[in-house]
């Protein structure tokens, strides 16, 4: 169990970059804000679907996708603020438990996009405990960059619905802006799975 006094040292960009480099087949949904920038900075690809809004929705977009594509690893990469707006979605996901879905919450305990106000995860909410309480089968807390390798295995093995709470350093990094044309993002994502526009 992580100590409340532990100092988060993980660099979010490096963590996401190492994770995605080792999961080249994964279908990736990002929550709005810095998580979208992290994924884009790691390399744009049609299998990335970046949310620029719909706050609280990233994990459940991932749920619908994971149920539709059970043979592919689905990774949701989002932040604590975005996930906190959709806490109920962890219950919804806990009730479905798609084995190919991994939710990676980059948790810096702050709303990084809006001026670094403290979020609930640094004010008492234990997100991993919430996820466990919602019945999500595999919940892991990550404090060290080296643990990225075990998360890679979890993602690629598709052996169980997972939530990983990654304690990242609260730092404001230069923005890396992915495309924000939703129709383009949708169509290229579907095209890479072999689905034609109607």
């Amino acid at each position: 169990m992580r100590q409340a006094t532990a100092v988060a040292t993980i660099d979010r960009r490096e963590f996401v970059s190492r994770l995605l480099a080792a999961c080249p087949q994964a279908l990736v949904i990002t929550g709005l804000g810095s998580s979208s920038y992290d994924v884009f900075a790691a390399g744009d690809r049609p299998e990335n679907f970046y949310l620029w809004g719909a706050m609280g929705g990233a994990a459940v977009v991932g749920l619908g996708l994971a149920l539709a594509q059970p043979g592919r690893s689905v990774v949701v990469i989002t932040g604590d603020g975005e996930q906190l707006m959709g806490l109920g979605s962890l219950s919804t996901i806990g009730a479905q438990q798609p084995a190919n879905l991994s939710i990676v919450v980059l948790d810096n305990g702050h709303f990084g996009e809006t001026g670094m106000q403290r979020s609930h995860t640094s004010l008492g909410t234990d997100l991993s405990a919430v996820a466990r309480g919602c019945g999500i089968g595999n919940v892991v807390e990550i404090d060290e960059m080296g643990s990225v390798d075990s998360l890679v295995q979890v993602v690629n093995s598709r052996q169980g619905c997972t939530l990983a709470q990654v304690h990242i350093r609260a730092a404001e990094l230069p923005r890396a802006l992915p495309p924000r044309d939703g129709v383009y993002l949708k169509n290229r994502f579907r095209a890479t799975l072999g689905f034609e526009p109607f």
């Binding site: 749920l63 619908g64 149920l67 539709a68 939703g182």
Partner: protein, 179 residues
């Protein structure tokens, strides 16, 4: 509600048939008595997945995820849930996802609970403000044709469509009165 289980109205089975025949694989829902038969049928069908939600906006997001993954998905809710969906509907408009939802109405016909009225009266307007096409079925014999029209507009035409199912279709909710 228990009497509905014994013999659901025919229009409820017609709705299930349209979803099933139209290739819907995921049905996300916040339950309502008017959807109870469809929900039971979905959970009993090995080719369909019922996804119970804690709040309706999750369903807006999850049907979009299903479409990204190549599956058709529908969302069932009650009119009171429409207000919960408003910001999440940006996802539908920005990405032009096909969207199909069936909404049972409250607050408009023999309503006992006044707390249902404000959202019930605002349901159609709120959806239209967010760019959603709103159809309505008032009578049992209108349901199948209206649902099929909305379904085709959504999945053949890519339009965001809801069908409102009038409260008069569902009938009076039985309340236990105490003196």
């Amino acid at each position: 509600m228990s009497s509905n289980i014994a013999s659901p109205p025919n229009w409820q089975e017609e709705i299930f048939s349209i979803l099933k025949g139209g290739g819907v694989r995921q049905v996300a829902y916040v339950p309502d008595a008017g959807h109870a038969h469809v929900i039971r049928r979905v959970h009993a069908d090995p080719d369909m997945r019922g996804v119970v939600l804690t709040t309706e906006e999750e369903g807006v997001a999850t049907v979009c995820g299903a479409w990204l993954g190549g599956e058709r998905s529908a969302l069932l809710m009650q009119s009171s849930g429409v207000g919960n969906c408003i910001n999440m509907l940006s996802l539908i408009q920005n990405c032009r996802f096909p969207f199909f939802s069936l909404i049972t109405m409250r607050g408009e016909w023999a309503e006992f609970n006044p707390w249902q009225a404000p959202m019930g009266k605002a349901t159609q307007g709120a959806l239209e403000l967010m760019g959603i096409t709103v159809l309505r079925a008032n009578k049992p014999e209108e349901v199948a044709e209206t649902v099929r029209a909305g379904f085709d507009a959504a999945f053949e035409g890519g339009e965001p469509v809801v069908v409102l199912l009038s409260q008069s279709l569902i009938g009076r909710k039985k309340w236990e009165h105490t003196k």
